[in-house]
């Protein structure tokens, strides 16, 4: 298990799924490459966890296919899929020791005892919990519990690893170190991994690629930087970082059916002469490295972030200012 496994790709094609009258997944198409760490990112209720559960076999699609390593998994029940899932609550069984928890999947596969013991020890070693084999889950910290859940899952040498909001039950400090550990482990194993989160920072920092989801649809797939630099639509633009969105009539002409989008830190404040976007400063916030201004331009309020320099000139509320914008930073996205 410490040696890299043969990585497997995941194809999701034309998937639709409803619970009662709620259409949870709408025509989802995705392709996860072998060996990559891939994030499903979106606000709660966007269908990301449902999509994960679909891959694990805990939900059934009405249409479409899920292919693991090129094979349709629809006819396989959860216990025959070899898809390792780490649950949001970890779901460690409180009536079993750590070692028993990790051994469970191997016992279900009727492996010889010696083999089971070897692989349990290996998995616990991998997550640094060898000394805790005899403990009960309740005697471990949140971070340790999470590592047990990971060890339990990778012990069965799954084809792919699914992580459902793995950091949500940890405190803020732990999250940073645990997400690095997860990334390191995933790299070492070379295991195709899907990481569900609603936190863009988590997705941006450790994932190779991200699928941004909203209301049951995949809005865009790409590397963190691609998504930030070239959002394909208004949702992605405003979900990843903040964005100013302007329509026609705010000073700059915008083609019909489009919106003008730019990041607050790409704009600068200027004098009002010859600048199409201008108006009074309505609010100012000091954020440390930057100063954020709200400028009322026509019917819209624009955010502008300028680097803070000590002794630099600051605008005050009520000042009339222009908002200057380099043309290469202007994006025209479908409304």
């Amino acid at each position: 298990m410490s040696k890299p496994v043969r990585a497997v790709g995941i194809e999701i094609a034309g998937v639709n799924l409803s619970y009662g009258t709620t259409h949870v997944l709408k025509n989802v198409d995705l392709s996860v490459r072998p060996g990559e760490l891939f994030a499903f990112l979106g606000p709660s209720g966007c269908g990301k966890t449902t999509l994960l559960r679909l891959i694990a076999g805990f939900a059934q699609a009405e249409t479409g296919r899920v292919l693991l390593d090129g094979r349709d998994v629809a006819p396989l029940p959860p216990w025959k899929r070899d898809v390792g899932m780490v649950f949001q609550s970890y779901a460690l069984w409180p009536h079993m020791t750590v070692a028993k928890n990790v051994a469970f999947g191997l016992e279900e596969r009727r492996l010889p005892r010696a083999e089971i013991d070897r692989r349990v020890a290996e998995a616990l070693d991998l997550v640094g919990l060898s000394d805790y084999a005899g403990r009960r889950p309740a005697q471990l910290s949140g971070g340790q519990q999470q590592r047990v859940a990971v060890a339990r899952t990778i012990a069965i040498e799954p084809k792919v690893l699914l992580l459902d909001e793995p950091l949500s039950n940890l405190d803020a400090k732990m999250r940073v170190s645990v997400r690095r550990e997860l990334r390191a482990l995933q790299q070492r194993l070379g295991l195709t991994t899907i990481f569900v989160t609603h936190d863009q920072e988590e997705a941006n920092t450790i994932c190779d690629r991200i699928a941004v989801m909203d209301a049951g649809t995949v809005r865009q797939v790409g590397t963190p930087m691609e998504l930030y630099e070239n959002p394909a639509n208004l949702f992605v633009a405003s979900f990843l970082g903040s964005a100013n969105i302007l329509g026609d009539g705010d000073g700059i002409p915008v083609p019909a059916g489009k919106r003008l989008v730019f990041r607050p830190q790409h704009a600068t404040l200027s004098s009002i002469d010859g600048v199409p976007l201008r108006g009074p400063v309505t609010h100012r916030e000091f954020l440390g490295a930057t100063v954020r201004y709200n400028v009322q331009v026509g019917g819209s309020e624009i955010l502008v972030e300028t680097p803070f320099q000590s002794g630099g000139e600051l605008r005050t509320v009520g000042d009339m200012v222009g908002v200057a914008l380099p043309p290469e930073r202007m994006l025209y996205l479908p409304a």
Partner: protein
């Protein structure tokens, strides 16, 4: 805090009054029983000789092991009935689930002794089922032979206690617990055995220990099935045939209390550190699997078989109450209303007594239960927790023991006219009230816990005194819950027998359950006994419906609370 003095004086008076009541009518009788068991006959010093006698008497030792065997086997069979039903209703989409849930109320509606004779007629050696089996297959099955009969009857009566507790525990397991096991390759019965069942163990143990104690303490069911060699019946027989001076009845009583306490202690010990409160952390309810048509048919077959068994005593009782003659035939020879005419005519005293006793007992329970709940939850009175503990210990005191204790403790206390206190009917009421107090107490706790303290603080802030706050805010808001407690106490009091059996001195003071027991002893009285049983079941069923209604209404009224 200038007011604190007068306020806690009132509370202290109330607490003392309750303590006095519990002391006189619960602690003293039980302590008397224990004391007598450990003293030499005729008032000597403390001794263990009575217990040695008990251990040397073959009859008692045999009775003890019979009781252990019957209780344990009842738990085994009750589990065998409850497990598949719990699994079915909590893990599958099954339309019959509602049907199974209603089973939970049946043992409350009718205690096992009521249907004992009817079950003899249905399942006995020459009962309907065996007559038919003999005719078709040439075999007879000894369902009701000796101890088997007690086990059979108790198991089909008490398995819902295990079912209800186990189902609740199974429903409370975080579904990720089982999904994680599926994800790692486990499924079906193996998954149930390795993950769901161990996690639901606390619920199972709670139900199983309750069943064990209830069966161990039951006097009337074995006696009506003509099984005398069990411990609780022996206590009753000893006291009623040899008299209240014979120490053996007391020794048996102490053993009964010991077994009840040991059972509860053992179950607490087993459960120590196993409180897997795995409440749902995110993500919907349990995923239930759809049954395939074949599985569904099997499931229905199981449920219908169990339901038939459970309803058998009720159906048998109904048939018996309308039967002219019913023996050596699958069904009665003819039908008549004469039994009802009889019990509503000259035996109507039983019904009147039951209504009187049960209302009085339930009234006492609600007042005392409500007061204890208030003192414990809303005051800082030192020692208030003791009232709760004292009242709750009534659960560990078998009815027959309480009855014996009353007889011994109060027989020497004479009324002005010379009749002993223990011979008055009011003593029956008090014994029933003590027996049912824990139920009313729980209901009162639940009702009071649902009321936010800030509602009372608001009243005090606007100038109401403690007493007026209780009267104008607390009691009106608790009404629904207290009413439910009253009706539940009333219904269960109406069929209370084991304490009553000892305390009834004359037929004119006897309640319905006693009348039923006496009538069922003779073939001539069976019809009338069954008619009383049907009336009792209807009475209790109506009460249960009313209790449900009251509870529902207070649930709705809770919308006002915070």
């Amino acid at each position: 805090m200038a007011l604190a003095g007068t306020r806690s004086a009132g509370q202290a008076t109330l607490a003392l009054a309750i303590a006095l009541f519990l002391g006189v009518f619960l602690v003293v009788p039980v302590a008397t029983v224990v004391y007598v068991a450990f003293t030499e006959k005729g008032g000597g010093g403390l001794t263990l000789v009575n217990f040695l006698d008990f251990a040397r008497t073959d009859l008692f030792v045999r009775s003890f092991w019979n009781s252990v065997y019957v209780s344990a086997m009842t738990v085994v069979w009750a589990s065998a009935l409850a497990l598949p039903l719990a699994y079915l209703t909590t893990r599958f989409e099954f339309r019959g689930a509602m049907l199974v849930q209603t089973l939970g109320f049946l043992p409350l509606v009718m205690p096992p002794f009521v249907g004992a004779v009817a079950m003899q007629l249905l399942f006995g050696r020459n009962g309907s089922v065996n007559l038919l089996l003999d005719e078709w297959l040439g075999i007879k099955i000894g369902f009701m032979e000796g101890l088997n009969g007690v086990i059979f009857l108790q198991a089909i009566h008490y398995f819902p206690f295990i079912l209800v507790n186990l189902s609740a525990a199974l429903r409370n397991i975080d579904r990720a617990m089982e999904e994680a096991a599926q994800n790692l390759g486990s499924h079906g019965l193996r998954l149930f055995r390795r993950i769901a069942l161990p996690l639901a163990l606390p619920g199972f143990i709670a139900g199983a220990s309750l069943v064990f104690v209830k069966v161990f303490d039951d006097v009337a069911t074995p006696l009506l099935l003509n099984v005398k060699e069990m411990l609780a019946p022996q206590a009753y027989l000893r006291i009623t045939s040899i008299g209240i001076d014979d120490p053996m009845g007391y020794v048996i009583s102490v053993v009964l209390i010991g077994v009840a306490v040991a059972t509860m202690w053992a179950s607490a010990l087993v459960l120590k550190g196993k409180d897997y409160a795995t409440t749902q952390r995110g993500g919907g309810g349990l995923a239930r699997r759809k049954l395939k048509p074949r599985e569904s048919a099997l499931a229905y077959a199981v449920v219908i078989l169990i339901l038939t068994l459970v309803l058998a005593p009720h159906v048998g009782l109904l048939l018996l109450s309308f039967a002219t003659v019913w023996s050596y035939s699958p069904l009665p020879d003819g039908y008549t209303l004469a039994h009802y005419a009889r019990v509503l005519g000259d035996s109507s005293g039983y019904i009147k007594n039951t209504l009187l006793y049960s209302s009085l007992a339930a009234g006492i329970d609600v007042v005392i239960g409500g007061a204890i709940a208030y003192l414990v939850l809303r005051t800082k009175l030192p020692g208030r927790q003791w009232l709760d503990w004292a009242a709750s210990t009534a659960l560990a005191v078998p009815g027959v023991v309480l009855g014996i204790g009353y007889l011994r403790a109060f027989y020497g206390v004479k009324m002005p006219d010379g009749t002993p206190l223990a011979a008055l009917w009011i003593v029956i009421v008090l014994a029933i009230a003590i027996r049912r107090l824990p139920y009313a107490l729980r209901a009162a706790y639940a009702a009071l816990q649902q009321i936010s303290v800030s509602l009372e603080e608001a009243a005090e802030n606007l100038g109401a005194t403690k007493a007026r706050t209780v009267r104008r805010i607390v009691i009106p808001l608790m009404t629904g819950g207290l009413l439910a407690g009253f009706v539940t106490s009333f219904a269960t009091a109406a069929v209370e027998l084991s304490a009553v059996l000892i305390l009834v001195q004359s037929n004119s003071d006897a309640p319905l359950a006693y009348g039923l027991y006496v009538l069922m002893q003779t073939p001539a009285g069976r019809g009338a006994g069954a008619a009383l049983g049907v009336i009792a079941v209807v009475l209790v069923a109506i009460c249960m419906g009313l209790a449900q209604l009251a509870a529902d209404r207070s649930q709705r009224a809770r919308g006002l609370d915070i």
